[in-house]
């Protein structure tokens, strides 16, 4: 029945708009995919065959050697990055969660002053504090190693993790915590039994965010470490250094370096959107 009806002007306009939207989306999709395509195919090419004329062509046969070389170049740095990102992510999310809980649910004198002050930390550029930070880390004997970098990233992560958790906890009804208080829960129990389990979606958001930020960070990674403690971003930069660049190596390196955050997102991603939306939608 519906098929035999003539297409109205309204439907016509809707189809046109639809088509236009898809065309625009396709163009953007292409813009995002082209670099990824180039990185992947170049990483699989024999360096001898890489030249401008065949840039867009697929490799004749995959050249896996680059990946072996990259893993060798990254040896130790992958572990450094892993230790750094795991340590700093855990510390900054747990501390941010406790901060957020206190700021959202407890009345503390001066909170109107302290909360914006904490958030303010988010807007301090890394470069602005580089030299004092360097001197401070040296003074407390944490300069040059992964523990020092963990401390830096934990502190630098606190503003955003505190903000995310505070906004998350504002939506937990006060009555729920009051009820727990009447039933005999103290501050610590209320956090571990009620607040923490309820904030797992918040943790997913914070973990993905912090993991990506810390894993990708370069400035502190290159200035606050010595040769033994450099994270993977420094290693990646070194692959691209020198005059005659073998393009296959930085490409393969980029893929290896990009995989862990991608993996975290794939594993936790389905909670990510839910966590971001928490509060805007009532359960």
């Amino acid at each position: 029945m519906a098929a035999t009806q003539p297409i109205t002007a309204y439907q016509m306009r809707r189809y046109t708009i639809r088509t236009a939207i898809y065309v625009v989306l396709a163009v953007f999709l292409l813009m995002f995919i082209v670099p990824v395509y180039l990185v992947v195919i170049t990483s699989l090419k024999d360096p001898a065959t890489i030249n401008l004329a065949t840039t867009w062509n697929l490799p004749e046969k995959p050249f896996w050697e680059s990946y072996a070389q990259v893993f060798q170049a990254f040896s130790g740095r992958l572990q450094n990055s892993a230790a750094l990102v795991i340590g700093a992510t855990i510390f900054s999310s747990v501390l941010g969660s406790i901060n957020g809980y206190v700021l959202a649910k407890w009345r503390i004198p001066g909170e109107k002053f302290f909360f914006p002050l904490i958030i303010f930390g988010m807007f301090i550029p890394y470069q602005a504090i580089l030299i004092p930070l360097f001197e401070f880390m040296r003074d407390i004997n944490l300069y040059g190693g992964i523990p020092g970098l963990i401390v830096i990233h934990t502190v630098y992560g606190l503003p955003i993790t505190t903000l995310i958790f505070r906004n998350f906890y504002v939506d937990i009804p006060d009555e729920m915590l009051e009820s727990a208080a009447i039933d005999g829960a103290n501050f610590f129990r209320m956090y571990t039994q009620i607040v923490f389990p309820l904030s797992l979606p918040g943790f997913v958001v914070v973990i993905i965010w912090q993991f990506t930020q810390i894993w990708n960070e370069f400035l502190f990674a290159v200035t606050m470490t010595n040769a033994d403690s450099q994270p993977i971003t420094v290693g990646l930069a070194q692959l691209a250094g020198g005059e005659a660049v073998k393009w296959n190596l930085p490409m393969a390196g980029a893929i290896v370096a990009a995989l862990p955050p991608l993996l975290v997102y794939i594993v936790l991603g389905r909670y990510f959107i839910r966590g971001l939306l928490a509060g805007s939608i009532k359960g």
Partner: protein
């Protein structure tokens, strides 16, 4: 034994006085309802008893213990919230067991108690479920079960039924009443629903603007309101109020409405004497007036505006001067719109009130005795 004593309780929020010098004594195992419109301070008072908001002045005793400055967990209380406040990430069993776990009760005792209260509230088959899989009424039962499981001396309930639909509320009202009658707890129950208060409470404390206007048994609060506001707040339809002038007539103290005179009960004479020549307010309930279809000497002639047949009664709306009266009659009594009828006001059913303070004028006992 847990008698609750609230003495001179004051709670302020900035300049706003939410609880204004309240005194309340609740007997052991008594069921007391705090009733009042929203913003009257009833929930604030309950929260003060729970320890969720410190009093600015006065003190609270539970049993013989002064708990004014104790945190909630040390007060031996449990509470049911309006929003139920059950934990969404815990199964029903864990919700009910929460308080006992916090008290570090042995596992065996926890199992026994949870099974016991779950059975009382008919949720024993749902212990493995999460609250999100349950209906509003069932969640309400979890909240009550959790409060009962800890077997505290005092049970506080903050509008526990107000989120349920009308039918379920009726059902839970009766069930809660029988349940609490069996348990040896002292209960404070907050509501703005006067029917709930009348039907459930051993005693009702009617609050307005942070003060308790009347604290008495439901029937006395209904029949003999101590304040203009209480009469108007309780009952459906609310109590009728008519202004009347106190006058001496033929040697007797009377109250005149227009040209119609009512003779108040003799025991009120001494108290009413002070009002001679002044206006007072006459309060009478709809069902306490007698409607006649023929004139009588002691009846006021009025005109029927509306007649609403409600099945068990007919409700008449009547104008007397500027005032509107609601009169409920036997369903057999019929009258047309605009028809004249006559109303009789039995003096024993009338509540006289001071026009300025709104307080009921009560017999001056000493003078009556003398």
């Amino acid at each position: 034994m847990a008698r609750i004593l609230i003495e001179n309780a004051v709670k302020k929020f900035g300049d706003f006085v939410a609880v204004d010098n309240v005194n309340l004594e609740i007997e052991d195992q008594e069921f007391v309802v705090l009733l009042g419109p929203s913003g009257c301070g009833k929930t604030t008072l309950l929260r003060a008893v729970a320890g969720l908001g410190m009093l600015d002045d006065g003190r609270i005793l539970i049993g013989e213990r002064d708990v004014t400055y104790l945190p909630p967990r040390d007060r031996d209380i449990s509470m049911v919230f309006q929003s139920y406040a059950i934990f969404p990430h815990m199964k029903v069993y864990d919700n009910i067991a929460f308080g006992l776990r916090m008290q570090k009760a042995p596992k065996k005792i926890i199992e026994e108690r949870v099974a016991e209260v779950a059975e009382l509230l008919h949720i024993e088959t749902m212990l493995d479920r999460y609250p999100s899989q349950m209906s509003g009424g069932q969640r309400q039962r979890i909240a009550v079960a959790r409060a009962l499981a800890v077997e505290s001396k005092v049970l506080l309930m903050d509008e526990p039924l107000s989120n349920l639909d009308a039918l379920l509320r009726l059902e839970m009202r009766a069930e809660l009443k029988t349940l609490l009658a069996r348990l040896a707890t002292t209960t404070i129950y907050v509501t703005h629903d006067q029917i709930e208060a009348l039907s459930m409470g051993d005693r009702i404390a009617v609050m307005k603007n942070g003060r308790i206007l009347q604290y008495d048994h439901p029937t006395r609060v209904y029949d003999r309101p101590a304040h203009h506001f209480v009469g108007g707040f309780i009952g459906n339809p609310p109590m009728n109020f008519l202004p009347a002038l106190v006058e001496k007539h033929e040697g007797k103290l009377t109250a005149r409405i227009g040209t119609f005179r009512i003779t108040p009960e003799a025991m009120l004479n001494s108290a009413l004497q002070a009002y001679e020549g002044k206006q007072v307010i006459m309060g009478i309930r709809a069902e306490n007036m007698e409607a006649l279809s023929i004139p009588a000497d002691d009846a006021l002639e009025v005109e029927v505006m509306v007649l609403e047949p409600l099945g068990a009664q007919n409700l008449l709306t009547i104008h007397v001067g500027q005032e509107t009266l609601k009169v409920s009659t036997h369903p057999d009594f019929t009258a047309k719109m605009g028809q004249k009828i006559w109303l009789r006001f039995p003096s024993s059913k009338i509540r006289w009130m001071d026009k300025d303070s709104g307080r009921a004028i009560v017999p001056d006992l000493e003078k009556v005795m003398a």
